[in-house]
């Protein structure tokens, strides 16, 4: 009767979450410390109950308890343990519980790591998180209960979707959700600050590490999902501008803008209303993403039978949470002060310009994602908005932003001089232009897109080096090592993240510009030369996996007589769902991937196969890892360690 306990724990969590949300807020008008004191214990109890409920559901997966309807629909007793445990977030109901469980993890983290915040502020913060939790638990209990039982229980489950049976499934959703849901902390900080009328430098300083933490998770989560799609889907794409992907990308973009505007607010106590609005937007876009994914309003998600009541519920929840936040914003934001002075030409201004760019880029992604819906809602027909649109509009908007990314770190705070920056960046510009011409000449083809892409990448890189050189030059004495020590993690993290973006741009540009695709047919024993590599098709081996059977191709790849790799793409049949999966095989090295996937067995014998050469494709994800590491580095900066304050 474990599942019932899980269900009760969730109901109890709802009750506690209501207390966590209501009591501290009730204490606000009269500054009632007794009511504030409820916040932390209630938050902890609520979180533990939700996590308990989650563990119980996952135990049902572990124990193959098919009396639980959700387990019966998303798992199978033959499924390897690792995937059984991950199957909990493989369907709608479980992934909603997972959402709340991640919120619980963040709530617990706040109760433990934000102890030094003033009681009043911390209490409102936890109250806001409690109210968010209330909404989601209600949603689960009323529309998507994962603990629902079926009698008689089926003999075995319907299995996890074979595409999801991959290590990517174990790590991608947790990272992504940690990022998504993590913006709820920044949101709660913003609301608490608005309620409290304490939008100031300390607020910005408190918020920064939490925002960065969520951003790091989201960065890594999106990157991992992209890499997973790359090898799993069998056609070597890594980003599709699909509505669901956009739903995770928009909070990332706004989160990036938020990180930069928090810097301005922390330094100059300025643009506080704007920063708080971005914090609200970041979490709102996470919620909007949840709505888009679950309601079926866009052609991306579940093809059939999405329950309209779910969509209505989330929409209502959106109206309450976001609408409420924006009303509060409209009431309180006008009274925040101006902050300190800075010049029109200064790092502050550049950061804000970057904000305009990132905000617009998010707007473009949102517009493109929702436009088919807008057109349809106005009865003007059906259109599709896909990669050709986003590749054009998004990139065109980002290019000036990336140019400014090279300028920003060079600019002085408060007051910068254009001639001074120009003289510092002269050589950086020269080097980037030359490199952006040199690399294509080595690759044998130059196009405007390739040139612009590489120029941007080298521009950011050389600007990072210019920053380091400048910084070193500003320190009068000491050895290089001593000088480097004075840099501080926040600064290093920023440079590393910027450098990571440059690496990412190199990867994207090289793949887009130089990838090669070959559709060929091969007989067993045949050797073909493709793109300078010899592919010898040794034949097909039958393979038996834990819950599938497969045909595995054996391809020896060599170049000029030297062995390169043995590639073994598979065609798998998962009998429970009767699904056929293509499993690609990839030879990876820093400058190119060789990607091979099996097509169909031909009637006249032999196989159709697809071979891709993807130059520098790994740099895409390597760049994201650098960005994530940069984020982590900035969080270790001493100034974010909280001191007891009142």
């Amino acid at each position: 009767m474990m599942p019932d306990i899980g269900h009760y724990a969730l109901i109890l969590a709802l009750v506690v979450a209501v207390l966590q949300g209501v009591l501290p807020l009730a204490g606000l008008p009269k500054n009632n410390e007794k009511l504030f004191a409820f916040a932390t214990p209630m938050a902890r109890i609520q979180s533990l109950l939700v996590i308990l409920s989650f563990i119980i559901l996952d135990y049902a997966f572990y124990a193959n308890d098919f009396t639980v309807y959700y387990v019966a629909t998303t798992s199978n007793s033959n499924l390897p343990l690792m995937f059984r445990l991950a199957a909990i977030w493989g369907g709608h109901e479980g992934s909603m519980l997972f959402w709340v469980a991640i919120l619980a993890v963040w709530t617990l983290a706040v109760t433990f790591f934000a102890k030094e915040l003033p009681l009043r502020f911390r209490s409102s913060l936890l109250a806001v998180m409690g109210l968010v939790s209330v909404g989601f638990i209600l949603f689960i209990l009323f529309t998507s209960n994962p603990f629902e039982r079926i009698f008689p229980a089926p003999f075995d489950g319907r299995d996890l979707n074979p595409l999801l049976q991959d290590p990517g499934m174990v790590f991608h959703p947790p990272l992504l959700y940690m990022g998504y849901v993590g913006f709820s902390v920044a949101f709660a900080f913003a609301i608490a600050a608005l309620l409290d009328g304490r939008l100031d430098v300390t607020w910005a300083r408190w918020t920064r590490p939490w925002t960065t933490a969520a951003w790091v998770f989201l960065t890594l989560g999106i990157a991992l999902g992209s890499r997973w799609a790359y090898y799993e889907l069998g056609w070597g794409g890594w980003w599709f501008w699909d509505a669901v992907e956009n739903a995770s990308f928009m909070p990332w973009l706004i989160g990036t803008a938020l990180i930069h505007s928090l810097a301005v607010t922390e330094k100059r106590n300025a643009f506080k209303a704007w920063t708080v609005l971005l914090a609200i937007c970041a979490f709102s876009l996470s919620l909007l993403g949840t709505f888009l994914v679950r309601s079926g309003v866009l052609t991306s998600v579940h093809a059939f039978a999405t329950d309209p009541s779910r969509g209505l519920f989330i929409l209502l929840f959106l109206v309450i949470v976001i609408g409420g936040a924006l009303i509060l914003f409209a009431m309180r934001a006008p009274s925040v002060g101006l902050g300190e002075k800075f010049d029109l030409v200064s790092r502050e201004s550049l950061l804000l310009t970057n904000n305009v760019v990132l905000f617009t880029a998010t707007g473009a992604v949102l517009l493109g994602t929702l436009y088919p819906l807008l057109i349809d809602a106005m009865n003007m027909g059906k259109i599709s908005v896909g990669p050709p649109y986003f590749d054009t509009v998004f990139v065109a908007i980002m290019v000036p932003g990336i140019f400014l990314m090279g300028v920003g770190p060079i600019a002085n705070w408060k007051k910068a001089s254009i001639p001074d920056m120009a003289s510092k960046l002269k050589w950086a510009l020269g080097v980037s232009v030359i490199s952006a011409l040199l690399v294509p000449s080595m690759m044998g083809r130059l196009s405007p897109m390739i040139f612009v892409g590489l120029l941007m990448a080298f521009w950011v890189m050389s600007s990072v080096f210019t920053s380091i050189k400048m910084r070193l030059g500003a320190i009068p004495s000491g050895t290089l090592k001593q000088k480097l020590k004075t840099f501080g993690p926040a600064y290093n993290g920023m440079l590393l993240a910027h450098f990571g973006l440059a690496i990412f741009i190199v990867g994207v540009t090289m793949v887009k510009g130089y990838e090669r695709e070959h559709d060929i047919t091969m007989q067993s024993g045949e050797t073909k030369v493709i793109n300078g590599y010899d592919f010898k098709f040794e034949g097909i081996l039958p393979i038996r996996g834990p819950n599938y059977v497969a045909k595995q191709g054996q391809f020896y790849v060599s170049k000029e007589g030297k062995p390169v790799a043995l590639l073994t793409p598979e065609k798998r049949l998962y009998p429970v769902q009767g699904a056929v999966m293509t499993e690609a095989s990839i030879s990876i090295n820093p400058v190119r991937d060789i990607y091979i996937s099996l097509g169909e067995e031909l009637e006249e014998g032999g196989w159709s196969i697809r071979v891709y050469f993807k130059p520098f494709v790994q740099w895409i994800w390597l760049g994201c890892v650098f960005m994530g590491m940069g984020g982590i580095l900035t969080m270790t900066d001493k100034r974010y360690r909280l001191k007891k304050s009142t």
């Binding site: 209303a273 609005l277 609200i280 937007c281 709102s284 709505f291 309601s295 079926g296 309003v297 866009l298 052609t299 093809a303 309209p308 969509g311 209505l312 929409l315 959106l318 109206v319 976001i322 609408g323 924006l326 009303i327 914003f329 409209a330 009431m331 934001a333 006008p334 929702l370 088919p372 819906l373 807008l374 349809d376 809602a377 027909g381 059906k382």
Partner: protein
Amino acid sequence: MKLKFLLPLVLFFVLVGFLLKGLFLDPREVPSPLIGKPAPAFEAPVLGDPSKTFSTADMKGKVWLLNTWASWCVACREEHPLLVEMLAHDIPLYGLAYKDVEQDALDVLDKMGNPYIITANDADGTIGIDYGVYGVPETYVIDKAGIIRYKQIGPITPESLRNIILPLLKELDA
């Protein structure tokens, strides 16, 4: 309260309005651009009797329905009984066997009844492409001048028959 601080709220509510509307729309249904345009002309062998052909030219001056279907299509089986019933009510239903093995299609008609006056055989699916078929079953209502007046995407339901197709046929026949 300064108005500019209300702007995000206003934009948000505009967005909510669209999302609310969107909940009641089906994003997967693709309206045909052929409505109001002449039905693409074709001439195809008759299913079960390849020596004869069916031609859209023969349909000039008549109001008729073209129903695309296939033996491998599960949803077609769903609407089939309703189609058989329609024939009993003298509704001029013509079939287009879309990308089917002839014998398989004939077996279905044997087993479930033949609701079609004539079924044309579109074995390679090229007629389907001309009509913009993207998932069988799809049904076209074509008027006397050979103009497509309505396209039912997916199975015909008793509701769509009663509320849309029958009134339209009445209007076109008049």
